[in-house]
Amino acid sequence: MTRPDSKSVEAVTAVLQSIGEAQPQPPADLWSRIEAAHGARSRRRRLRRLTAGGMFCVILAGAVALRGWHSATPEIDWQARAQALELQLLAIEHDNRIAAATPTAFDANPATSELAEIDRRLQAAYEHKIYTNQLVPLWKRRSELLDALIAARREGLTLTRI
């Protein structure tokens, strides 16, 4: 690297000094452009926030509506229904002077044996102190069987299959 002579050192110093002292003015409209850019950026952000907020509200409203619809759907108490149907069946049997439709009486009929089996399983569950939702399908099936038996008794038929 060659050493610069004193003239060029002076010249470079002068160049740097002139650059350092220069006070170039920005365009007169630069601040208004900055304000406009800031305004546009703020509007975009506000719009994004509004959109996000709107979407959140729609999702929230959907979730609330779905929950409301779910809770509006009545929960069927299959146990109570089965018990009510059993009473109804007994009344029909009594009116028609047919042997009572107790599980033991159903044993001879293939259709009623399922009812007896369900009763056995329910009894076993209660003996083992199982009082959970696991029993709901059994009560539901018992209600369906009793429904079918009631319908068959009314028509004077013997139910063999559901």
Binding site: M1, P4, D5, K7, S8, V9, A11, V12, V15, L16, S18, I19, G20, A22, Q23, P24, Q25, P26, P27, L30, W31, R33, I34, E35, A37, H38, R41
Partner: protein, 195 residues
């Protein structure tokens, strides 16, 4: 002695550029998002900010973009200004950082090899008139070299600070500065030789 806020220690010479002092009330208003307060800050610091941006980039359009970017960032981040350093120094650093970020973004200047950087700049020839013009002389330097030279020779940054800004070593900064100065010496010698 009742010295004005924007005069030097003697109370005579007005403070200029980034050295100007900002009233606490203006800063407080700006920190609350008051746009007229930002207009006041721009009226005071727009010119030094533009001057530094122009020296660092060597291009008026890029300098305008840089000032816009810096003031938009200022509007968003002024709440984080705690007054640990003078406001002007804070803004100056923000401007230098923005300029260097712009240099880094430009893929053409990612190559940190000084040899390649100066060889590329050699391809650009300049007229004798341009060679005598101070700003044109700076423009003949590769962008990174110009930024290093401006920051070190005109803005008083140390090699340690420059190295940190560029994410490079101190020896890189020193090497770029030495080559930049050498280039300037050669450039000013050329017109003298031609006459």
């Amino acid at each position: 002695m009742n010295r004005s806020a924007n005069t030097d220690m003697s109370g005579l010479a007005p403070l200029s550029g980034f050295a100007q002092i900002v009233e606490a009330s203006v800063l407080a208003r700006a920190q609350r998002g008051d746009m007229p307060a930002f207009a006041t800050l721009y009226a005071r610091f727009g010119q030094p900010c533009y001057g530094l941006a122009l020296r660092l980039t060597g291009n008026a359009a890029q300098a305008e973009d840089l000032v816009q970017e810096v003031f938009l960032k200022l509007i968003e981040t002024i709440r984080s200004y705690r007054g640990d350093a003078p406001f002007g120094a804070w803004l100056k650093r923000m401007t230098a950082n923005a300029a260097i970020d712009q240099l880094r973004k430009n893929k053409r200047f990612v190559d940190a090899d000084p040899e390649a950087m100066f060889a590329a700049a050699d391809a650009v020839d300049a007229s004798p008139a341009q060679k005598l013009d101070a700003a044109a002389l700076l423009r003949r330097l590769p962008p990174r070299a110009r930024a290093v030279l401006v920051l070190h020779e005109l803005e008083g940054y140390t090699h340690t600070e420059i190295a940190k800004l560029f994410g490079q070593s101190e020896s890189y900064s020193k090497s770029i500065l030495a080559r930049g100065l050498q280039r300037l010496h050669a450039s000013v010698a050329e017109p003298q030789a031609e006459t």
